[in-house]
């Protein structure tokens, strides 16, 4: 047992994550061809616009379920909404944000793009602290919009006229996943601008622009899109109570900032917060790179059901970061 634990703690989880992501990518992008349908309430971008998708991203059913008149909320519609959310919550409660770091196909694509940049030795970008704080709010705004717009399509909000149906489903219309993921099954049909109405045109054009920014953005900034992802905001609800957790033994932290440096999203609190034990922040994707980079024995620790499964160790750190660059 001790040996297994030491083995895991000294392992290179990034490498493991790399292969895991590939497997998850195949499952979520091509699984449909093998009759895999994991669930329709997945907290990850398994985009149903992609024919091979092995599941469905929850944002799609969520928007559909919200697309109903007020009266139906108190009836079966509300129950379905609740049921759907419960299923989603179960997924969220178990793996928390690891859906982002380990399973999300769109996240995986971004990581691949990052790999490409690394090979080219082009410098990455980092946001300044204030910019970061400003930008991270966007995901909550998007989440709000993706809830309110479907309601506004089927109801009149604040005595405004109902929104055009062409705006529906609002997030899918601008989500890069809709355009990018089908490309992997050879389906280019999502690349279009719909000129039929002004709304349709705006939304589809926005989708194309966002996709363009997605590609370039994630080339220069690691996990560029994740900072704006409403799914990440939605998953954050569970991260404080989830079974999978990232804990920090604050007394041991030297605030060396290694964890912050390697964090793809750029979460400063991971290094600077020496008060909270549960350290999962709203932008965190539980990639666990920070645990790898922490040289303090047992300072950062991943636990599942309160059982530590992976923690930072000195030996592990040296294995991963130093001894491999021994010089001749």
């Amino acid at each position: 047992m001790k040996k297994i634990r030491a083995f895991i703690n000294n392992s290179n989880i990034s490498k493991f994550r790399f292969y895991f992501q590939i497997a998850a990518f195949v499952l979520f992008v091509y699984g449909g061809y093998f009759y895999v349908t994991i669930s329709e309430k997945l907290p990850t971008f398994a985009c149903p616009f992609n024919k091979g998708s092995g599941g469905t991203c929850y944002l799609m059913p969520l928007q559909h379920q919200l697309h109903m008149t007020w009266s139906r909320f108190i009836g079966p519609g509300g129950i379905h909404l609740l049921k759907g959310f419960l299923v989603f919550a179960c997924f969220g409660l178990v793996f928390s944000k690891a859906w982002c770091g380990y399973l999300c196909p769109l996240g995986t694509i971004q990581d691949w793009i990052t790999k490409l940049r690394k090979v080219l030795h082009i410098r990455f970008s980092k946001y300044g602290e204030t910019t970061f704080k400003g930008l991270k709010k966007i995901k909550y705004i998007l989440l709000f919009l993706l809830i309110i717009i479907p309601l506004g399509v089927s109801n009149s909000l604040l005595w405004l006229p109902k929104f055009s149906h062409d705006i529906f489903p609002p997030f899918c219309k601008i989500c890069p996943g809709r355009i990018v993921l089908p490309l992997f099954t050879g389906d280019t049909s999502q690349i279009y601008i719909d000129f039929s109405t002004k709304t349709a045109m705006t939304m589809t054009a926005l989708g194309m622009i966002v996709t363009g920014i997605f590609f370039t953005g994630s080339f220069f900034k690691k996990r560029f899109f994740c900072l704006f992802c409403p799914m990440s905001a939605l998953l954050y609800i569970f991260s404080k109570v989830a079974i999978l957790r990232l804990n920090k033994n604050v007394a041991k932290c030297t605030r060396c900032g290694n964890c912050y440096r390697v964090c793809d999203v750029g979460i400063k609190e991971i290094a600077d917060d020496v008060i909270n034990k549960n350290i999962v922040k709203d932008d965190c994707m539980l990639c666990l790179k920070c645990v790898e980079a922490c040289p303090e024995e047992g300072c950062l620790e991943v636990s599942f059901f309160n059982i530590p499964v992976f923690m930072s160790t000195e030996t592990g750190f040296f294995k991963r970061y130093c001894l491999r660059n021994e010089i001749k």
Binding site: Y35, Y192, I193, D194, S196, T211, G212, I213
Partner: protein
């Protein structure tokens, strides 16, 4: 579908429309008469609902007669007094369907909220002019709510036939990749299969007519199939485009055999089978969409952002950064 194809089909149809049979067919439609359209709740896939006296919601179909979807009358009666109503729910159980006569003509209602296709048939037999008429009006009513989940959807998409009970039947073959969310749209190739007592029927006359009176006649092939391409007949002005505009089509199939016998004591010389199947489709998804512009925009945005970042980085190489203050009080 390219414009050229469309024109070709149109010309083709113009020639053959001449010979269209004009006999009155009975068919089941899910489109309510215009004046009451507002009182009806419209569900997915054009399914209509009304509230019964007991407050429960029922699915409703209108019995109409005529060969063209729009012009067909909302019938006040059927050919016989007591047609057989046959409704099979998605799980294969027979359920009760009612024919009633209301303000809105003859309607067929039934209850059920299961996921999948309800097969609804109105089946009549009567002798007229020494001919035994066997009339089967069929409708496939898809009941689906995404919130119910999509478990087993692929299986539920398969069509079912009832050879014992329904002697003559038109079956719409599913288009590739079709599921509960698929709307047929113009440009799709749809095959209709005609079955006589379960066996594919060759040389049966099949006619497909659309809302705008496009008509196409075919004879079934050896497999009993007749393949049509749904012709685009929605060309509104640019400002009025509604991509979710649902238009109907109607498929009829006929077949006559010489066979004498007697039905309810009335002798006949031949049997005439007539089947109908209504359906609906929407404008082509690619109508007024531009792949090229999308691609151009996408390709333009990527380097544009990259250039911005490049200049930003160059700008950062300058050593001094000014702090700016707002002078206003």
């Amino acid at each position: 579908m390219r414009l050229k194809d469309r024109i070709l089909i149109a010309i083709f149809l113009l020639f053959f429309a001449e010979g269209a049979s004009a006999s009155e067919n009975i068919w089941l439609s899910n489109t309510p008469p215009k004046k009451i359209s507002k009182k009806i709740r419209h569900g997915m896939h054009g399914v209509s609902f009304i509230k019964g006296n007991d407050g429960r919601e029922k699915k409703i179909l209108w019995i109409r007669s005529g060969s063209f979807p729009v012009e067909s009358q909302y019938a006040n009666c059927t050919n016989t007094k007591n047609p057989v109503i046959f409704v099979c729910s998605p799980d294969g159980k027979l359920i009760k369907g009612n024919v009633s006569h209301g303000l809105w003509g003859h309607v067929l209602t039934f209850e059920g909220n299961m996921e999948g296709f309800y097969n609804v048939y109105l089946f009549e037999r009567f002798v007229e002019e020494e001919t035994l008429n066997i009339v089967v009006a069929k409708a496939e009513v898809l009941s689906h709510k995404c919130s119910n989940g999509h478990a087993g959807m692929r299986k539920k998409m398969l069509h079912r036939t009832f050879n014992e009970e329904i002697p003559f039947e038109i079956v719409r073959e599913r288009i590739p990749g079709e599921d509960f969310h698929t709307f047929l749209s113009s440009g799709d190739d749809v095959t209709f299969k005609v079955l006589l007592k379960g066996a594919p029927l060759e040389y049966s006359k099949v006619m497909l007519s659309t809302q705008k009176r496009w008509v196409n006649n075919l004879k079934t092939d050896i497999n009993g199939g007749a393949a049509f391409q749904l012709v685009g007949d929605y060309y509104p002005r640019f400002k009025e485009i509604n991509k979710r505009n649902i238009h109907n089509f109607l498929v009829t199939a006929e077949y006559t055999v010489k066979k004498s016998g007697s039905y309810q004591g009335i002798p006949y010389e031949r049997i005439h089978y007539a089947g109908t199947l209504g359906g609906s489709y929407i404008p082509s998804k690619t109508m007024y969409t531009s792949y090229l512009y999308g691609l151009i925009l996408l390709i333009f945005v990527m380097p544009a952002v990259a250039t911005l970042i490049y200049f930003y980085r160059e700008h950062r190489k300058r050593p001094y950064k000014e702090y700016a203050f707002r002078e206003k009080d």
